[in-house]
């Protein structure tokens, strides 16, 4: 039973470029949440997708956008990259009907470095 899969593992981009990160949720899960974790900090909530729609959003600019596909996989897109976007990006999946009572399953993350 595969857990949450994220790709790529590492990525180096230049300021101003655009990046797409991918996530496949755990089998049976239908909700995907994305987090940004700067070095030495806790994960910060970016947004959450369910039924191919953005359901909740954290305090992130519109440069951060996402998508969820019919197979529940998801993408995180960041435009006009800034040095401050360098972080570990974590994808977490869950099942909506669990009503938050069983926690998240996290992927191993994508380490994005902006130079």
């Amino acid at each position: 039973d595969a857990g949450v899969t994220q790709s790529p593992t590492h990525l180096i981009k230049t300021r101003g470029q655009q990046v797409t990160l991918r996530c496949s949720p755990k089998s049976g899960h239908d909700t995907v949440s994305w987090y940004q974790q700067a070095l030495g900090q806790g994960p910060q909530f970016i947004f959450q997708y369910y039924e191919e729609e953005e359901r909740q959003r954290g305090n992130f600019p519109d440069r951060f956008s996402g998508h969820q596909f019919p197979n529940y996989s998801s993408e995180l897109n960041v435009n006009a990259l800034l040095l401050g976007d360098s972080a570990l990006y974590l994808c977490a999946s869950s099942l909506r009907t669990f009503r938050g009572n069983y926690g998240y399953t996290f992927g191993s993350g994508t380490r994005l470095t902006v130079v």
Partner: protein, 113 residues
């Protein structure tokens, strides 16, 4: 913004000792969870405690919750070098028909062999 604040920020103990870390949060919750993160990789779910529970055990882990003080503690007994990691508490927030989790700032635990 961070919902929870862990205390201490960093903790260094000898193998075999107990480690206690605390979490304070700001708003009412449905449940609170603790996660572990090794070397900046993905987070691993450790334990969940519901708002109507006061204490919960899982192996060497013991979690307490005091909703009146909006605080929780995680106790790791008989620590091992493999317990070296960052530990985060997370509280739920229900909006628009779905739940999301807000994480604290974390406690970095180092267990010395």
């Amino acid at each position: 913004s961070q919902q929870g604040e862990e205390d201490p920020q960093a903790l260094s103990i000898q193998e075999g000792e107990n480690a206690t870390m605390n979490c304070s949060y700001k708003t009412s919750i449905n449940n609170l969870q603790w996660y572990r993160q090794n070397s900046g990789r993905g987070l691993v779910h450790l334990i969940l405690i519901r708002s109507n529970e006061r204490e919960k055990h899982s192996g060497r882990l013991r979690v307490t919750l005091d909703t009146s003080k909006k605080s929780s503690s995680l106790l790791i007994t008989a620590s091992r070098a493999a317990d070296t990691a960052s530990y985060f508490c997370a509280t739920d927030a229900y909006t628009s028909g779905t739940y999301k989790y807000i994480f604290g700032t974390g406690t970095r635990l180092k267990v010395l062999a």
